[in-house]
């Protein structure tokens, strides 16, 4: 009989006894399921927000801010500067030959959250008519586009789910009066957590005469350096030029902190479940002492006993890990979640329990299973045969 066959036999025999001790098996399975459920759920919250920010930044777009400023909310760009930026080399053209550049202005409006009715800041963004050619991912889901000159807004789908009073036809109070929601849009990224309108209409309502930023679509990602050089060497300009992908990656600090917190909680909780698994596997080994000793006495090598105990622990851990991931998928998938910053406004994201996150959870479970099974397996292998047999 070869070694592999011996291992398979002993392992199969061990596994067949698992249903006889449902209490012990459930400690490992439920313990690990709980850890993986919490870990995968928290990672989903953090990663969905990070992903929705990452997805918003495209390689072939550039954002121009005031020099020394790295956030739109603090930036100011004069009308003349905006014209120079739009005319710079590398900027793509719209179908009717205009530069694909959107001059934009930001405002923040306090709106009640659905969750608890508390007022929370929401971003209102004014865009120029060329924005449709700059951000081609903006798709109207229902209603219609805002009309320049009229106090009309379109609302992001995720924002609409998170806040009160943002249905089609609802009135939103901004500076200077009531604005009407006329459309709902989708982008598949963090832009769904905003209200959009025409930049000139918003500026006149807020009595502003400078833009916050200019975003341009480049003819290709490669011309970014040409575009940036043209602007930074222009003596009439004092601006900060960034790839849009770089700009949005800067905002992911908060979700990064959230992801670190998830792993810390996952690690401490995992240690707790690991001690439980160790306990269980030790008592399994001692309960099967006679059986293991008998196997050893009739010539099965210690290695097959080690493998048998390890495989059992890993299998229970795998079941627990998959169950935990399944629970967080059932609870979270399709929902939305908002993460904001004290100074800025909420970034809402649609939750996606991705295969990668399930993979992380299952890997976490298998690590716990491995450590939980290893020491008991070695104990099983070192069991003094004669003593164990006498325990009958």
């Amino acid at each position: 009989m070869n070694a592999f066959r011996q291992m398979t036999l002993v392992t199969a025999m061990g596994l067949r006894t698992v249903p006889q001790r449902p209490g012990r098996a459930s400690v490992v399975v439920i313990g690990i399921a709980g850890v993986v459920g919490v870990l995968v759920s928290m990672l989903t919250l953090g990663a969905s927000v990070a992903e929705s920010m990452r997805a918003a930044g495209r390689e072939d777009r550039a954002i121009v801010l005031r020099n020394g400023v790295d956030h739109e909310a603090e930036s100011a760009i004069f009308t003349a500067e905006a014209q120079t930026i739009a005319d710079a080399p590398g900027v793509a053209r719209t179908e009717d030959g205009k530069p694909a550049a959107s001059t934009e202005v930001l405002a923040t409006v306090n709106l009640p959250r659905k969750l608890d009715g508390a007022l929370s800041g929401v971003l209102v963004r004014g865009m120029s008519p060329q924005a449709a050619s700059v951000r081609r991912e903006i798709q109207l889901q229902s209603g219609r586009m805002f009309t320049p000159g009229l106090r009309e807004l379109i609302v992001g789908r995720v924002l609409q789910e998170q806040f009160e009073g943002l249905q089609l036809g609802d009135q939103v109070r901004l500076s200077g009066g009531e604005w009407t929601i006329v459309g709902v849009y989708e982008t598949g990224d963090m832009w769904e957590s905003m209200l959009l309108t025409d930049v000139a209409t918003l500026m006149s309502a807020y009595r502003r005469n400078v833009f916050s930023s200019v975003t341009v679509r480049l003819t290709s990602p490669a011309v970014f350096d040409v575009f940036k050089n043209a602007l930074t060497t222009d003596p009439t300009l004092s601006v900060n030029v960034m790839r849009e992908s770089e700009y949005y990656s800067k905002g992911s600090e908060l979700s990064g902190a959230f992801i670190i917190l998830s792993y810390v909680i996952g690690a401490i909780m995992g240690a707790g479940a690991l001690f439980g698994a160790l306990n269980t596997m030790y008592s399994t080994v001692s309960a099967r002492g006679v059986e293991i000793a008998t196997l050893r006495a009739i010539g099965f090598p210690a290695s097959s006993v080690v493998v048998s105990v390890l495989v059992e622990a890993l299998l229970l851990a795998l079941i627990g890990g998959l169950a935990g991931a399944a629970v967080s998928w059932a609870l979270l998938s399709g929902g939305t979640f908002a993460l904001g910053s004290p100074s800025g406004s909420a970034v809402a994201a649609e939750l996606r329990v991705t295969p990668q996150l399930v993979g992380v959870g299952v890997a976490w479970a298998l690590i716990m299973g491995l450590f939980g099974g290893l020491l008991p397996a070695l104990r099983a292998a070192r069991l003094p045969i004669a003593t164990a047999l006498r325990a009958v």
């Binding site: 209490g23 313990g31 850890v35 400023v69 100011a76 240690a271 707790g272 004290p342 909420a346």
Partner: protein, 386 residues
């Protein structure tokens, strides 16, 4: 005494198992202490730094970024119960490199002289010097040290706030310094003249970010806040007035409903780990039913045996829980405090009390099924191992 010996012997019947079980419970309460403890302590910390201030904060109700006209100050000043009002207007800047962020606060010097800010000490004559030097600045000692600035230095700060001359570099002359008198505040800002700042900036002239009202009686905060907001209702400058504590809590809440998430995570953590340990401890007690039968044979009554089982479970849970909460308070809290730059948080007594209650409840749940078996135990069967 003999009972204690029995409990002790029971605990160490299988030392490896006891230690492992204990570590599981320690992990659960470590997380409980860290998460629940942080929430409670943070709330108390907010209360501590704001509670004794009796200060209200008024901002624009519609748009936080828009600010309020400075002309609304006299109206707020006239509301009964308001002792003093002051402006709040800040902006971000950096010194030489964007990594060297510097917070700038534009202050109304005349008001600062009349109503000194609590917890701040300003160097001799600095506020008076600000009245003479329009471009003057009073700099926090922490910042003076960081950049090696001296009084009399002229420092350029780059900012997103544009000047009327279209530059975004603001140059200030340091005329004095300020320090803080309590650890929660920080001396890392630059104070400049609001009059000069407002006149020089290109946009937003005549507005302030918010208005601070010092009130006589903190008990009247809600009434006064409502009255301030009522005074501007249906005007172009509708206001939202909150106490300083509520403001900070709202800002933290805004990050996300952090409390809800922590509550859900905690319930999942406690359920999982307590299921694991409870199950293990239950098994251990069930294994010992023959031993309990021996005690019963010797004449120990059911209540005494019940008490022994319960005390043993409670001792293990309580000691582990206290270790977990202790480690959270001594190891994790300083780390959390450092991460949020608020110093070490104190562990709140209520967190410890709730932790003890959870631990005892856990012990009861664990001890219950074995107790049930023991009560109905047939000594002969049990001794025979049946």
């Amino acid at each position: 005494m003999k009972y204690l010996v029995l409990v002790w012997a029971g605990l160490w019947r299988k030392p490896a198992r006891t230690v492992l079980t204990s570590m599981s419970v320690v992990s659960a309460f470590l997380l409980y202490g860290a998460l629940s403890g942080t929430m409670v302590s943070f709330d108390r910390w907010v209360g501590q730094i704001t509670g004794d201030l009796a200060v209200l904060w008024t901002a624009s109700r519609v748009d936080m970024s828009a600010g309020l006209p400075i002309g609304i100050l006299p109206t707020i000043e006239r509301i009964p119960g308001v002792q003093a009002v002051d402006i709040q207007q800040g902006f971000n800047s950096y010194f030489q490199d964007p990594k060297n962020g510097v917070g700038v606060e534009a202050i109304d010097v005349a008001r600062r002289i009349r109503y000194p800010r609590p917890f701040f000490t300003v160097s001799e004559g600095a506020l008076e010097a600000m009245q003479r030097v329009r471009t003057g600045a009073i700099v926090g000692t922490e910042l003076m040290e960081k950049y090696g600035w001296k009084v009399g230095d002229r420092v350029p700060l780059t900012s997103g706030v544009i000047r009327k001359d279209r530059s975004n570099i603001w140059v200030f002359d340091i005329v004095g310094t300020f320090d803080v008198t309590r650890t929660q505040a920080r001396a890392d800002q630059v104070w400049v003249n609001y009059d000069y700042f407002d006149e020089a900036r290109a946009f937003g002239n005549g507005t302030v970010g918010g208005v601070i009202s010092v009130i006589a009686d903190p008990g009247q905060a809600t009434r006064i806040a409502a009255e301030i907001d009522k005074a501007f209702a249906n005007s172009p400058n509708e206001t939202l007035t909150r106490s300083m504590g509520d403001l900070i809590r709202a800002e933290i809440d805004q990050i996300t409903d952090i409390k809800l998430i922590i509550d859900i995570v905690l319930s999942a953590v406690l359920f999982t780990l307590l299921f694991v340990t409870g199950n293990t401890m239950m098994q251990s007690t069930v294994e010992r039913i023959p031993e309990l039968a021996v005690l019963k044979t010797y004449g120990y009554t059911d209540p005494v045996i019940a008490a022994l089982v319960l005390v043993e479970a409670a001792a293990l849970c309580l000691i582990s829980a206290l270790i977990g909460i202790g480690v959270a308070a001594t190891v994790l809290f300083p780390l959390i405090g450092a991460a949020f730059r608020i110093g070490t948080l104190p562990m709140d007594a209520s967190v410890v009390v709730t932790g003890v209650v959870i631990a005892v409840a856990l012990a009861c749940v664990i001890a219950l099924p074995p107790l049930w078996r023991v009560r109905r135990l047939n000594v002969v069967d049990a001794l025979a191992g049946r």
